[in-house]
Symmetry: C2
Subunit: 319 residues, 2 copies
């Protein structure tokens, strides 16, 4: 197996590119895919201060690594979700990554700083854990970016993630969610710009990036996500990708290119008319935003152990 | 296992309806689903003369049976595609069905009447067989309906078919194909109205209809379709349906309800500007229509045996 570029020994085969690569030219390919996503979708500009949402997993650490490599000023923000040992371990991976590279990592602990955790929030709000978690993370990343003077929040969503979410939204033809599924959300009053620079890389590629770059990451999936529909959508797309390499990339990228523009108008109209949350000031269609409602319910609820929730975790495919 | 309606012994479970049915109430459910499709999409009106495209398979014979049962004047049209024994056998099923019910069946033989067959057309035009077949059938059903004074052509596409085609078109975000994927195509100059009354029934349900109604049908799949992408799409959707019964129906029906209207405008514009084929008079954007080009190439080509083509059959997912 030889590298397509230099004919040296290859370490990875990428069927959708119909080629094999040595570490050096695999790194080059990954960098180019990220640069292309950043350029095509106008994600970042020179001088941007980027806040990277890091979880300790392969995607977010690869993203932070790539952005620093590409010359961006990028700090990390880790949110301790209080999901038992999984959370304790995942913080360790983030902290070691930052320390070894002298990067700045901010840490928010839901339990210490806000008085709740995700298992408790799921129970208190009767949301599925992935929903309570997504709402929490979106709010805290947004507010931390605005307070810290960051111009952009970057998240590690990869091609598999985006394709699976797109598939879920497509299976329901949820027009509102489809219209919002973009690799860039521009800044609006009360919201920072949000970007997903890894949308052109698969999760196999981000894993290989970490392994070949000696980045240690948490391999386990979140115990609360087990069995959610999102994983079923990934499996279905992977079965098709095996038969026809490249299907996943064209599914996602053709959607962005051809379908998003058709859906764009309706969404913009829907976004006007947002007021401010009377408690935290965040934009919301209601008097009190969904995050503040979640915090109120969750902090009043007695703590719920992870094991109590993980078994009955369900959906979580939307975003 | 008891029938949901009468509590008598049930013979079939339908997870997406979360219920079991005895033969009588299963028939009632099928009739109601077909009536609802006909009504919701304004497919047929009293007095319509319907030409049913029959292949000898479960779907088209169930459709013919259902339309006659529901009181429509429906004749059958069978096209002998020249796919070896498969074609010979499939005609037999259609003829016996018609004879037993004193229904009128018209038969066109590609080889005898037009001088080619599908394996030869696939080779001569370098199309995948499903593409040569689809083009041939569309043209011949359209022209037979117009010449025979039929107001509508009805085809046996079921929910699984439509969902799989929709999935394929969605994976590519082929906007033009998506815009055209409707359960009813209205009559236009040179084209009869075309309807798919079985879009609310799955292929398991049409098979059960035939078995319980003692309709003998050809069970084998067309040997030229083996391995096409369409079957991969069906398998992927079935895997998701098993986890979440009802997903397939909501995928297709929500598309028709929510997405088709958004896509409709572009398609209408694209359809104007059709001229007439200088050979057959059919509407076409070119001087000679695709069907006449296929006939010309295929009739000049020496006959190709089925076995020569079936092995390398590929795609065919679009329509």
């Amino acid at each position: 197996m030889k590298c397509r570029v230099c004919r040296g020994p290859a370490v990875i085969d990428l069927p959708r590119h119909n080629a094999n690569f040595c570490p050096e030219h695999f790194f080059q390919l990954c960098r180019r895919q990220v640069e292309r996503a950043i350029k095509d979708f106008t994600m970042l500009e020179p001088g941007d201060r980027v806040l990277v949402a890091v979880s300790g997993g392969k995607d977010s650490l690869a993203l932070w690594d790539l952005l620093v490599e590409l010359g961006y000023e990028a700090d990390g923000l880790y949110i301790g979700l209080g999901i038992g040992e999984y959370s304790d371990e995942s913080l360790g991976y983030c902290q070691r990554f930052a320390d070894e590279r002298s990067l700045s990592l901010k840490v928010i602990s839901l339990r210490s700083d806000l008085g709740y955790d995700i298992p408790t929030a799921a129970a208190a709000t009767r949301r599925v854990p992935c929903s309570a978690c997504g709402l929490t993370k979106r709010h805290l990343f947004d507010s931390a970016a605005l307070e810290g003077g960051y111009s952009v929040v970057a998240t590690g969503h990869n091609l598999d993630d985006e394709a699976a979410v797109l598939f879920g939204n497509t299976l329901r033809w949820d027009i509102e969610y489809l219209a919002r599924q973009l690799p860039v959300l521009p800044a609006r009053p009360g919201f920072p710009k949000k970007v997903k620079p890894l949308v052109r890389l698969t999760e196999r590629e981000t894993a290989a990036w970490c392994i070949l770059r000696n980045i240690d990451y948490i391999v386990e999936e979140c115990p609360m996500a087990a069995g959610n529909r999102h994983l079923g959508y990934k499996a279905a797309l992977n079965a098709i990708e095996d038969q026809s390499p490249g299907t996943k990339a064209s599914f996602y990228l053709n959607f962005i290119e051809r379908m998003s523009p058709i859906l764009a108008n309706g969404d913009l109209a829907e976004r006007e008319g947002l007021g401010s949350c009377t408690r935290c000031g965040s934009p919301t269609p209601s008097e009190v935003c969904a995050f503040c409602v979640l915090v109120e319910k969750s902090t009043r609820h007695e703590p719920v152990p992870v094991e109590f929730i993980a078994r009955r975790a369900g959906s979580g495919g939307r975003r």
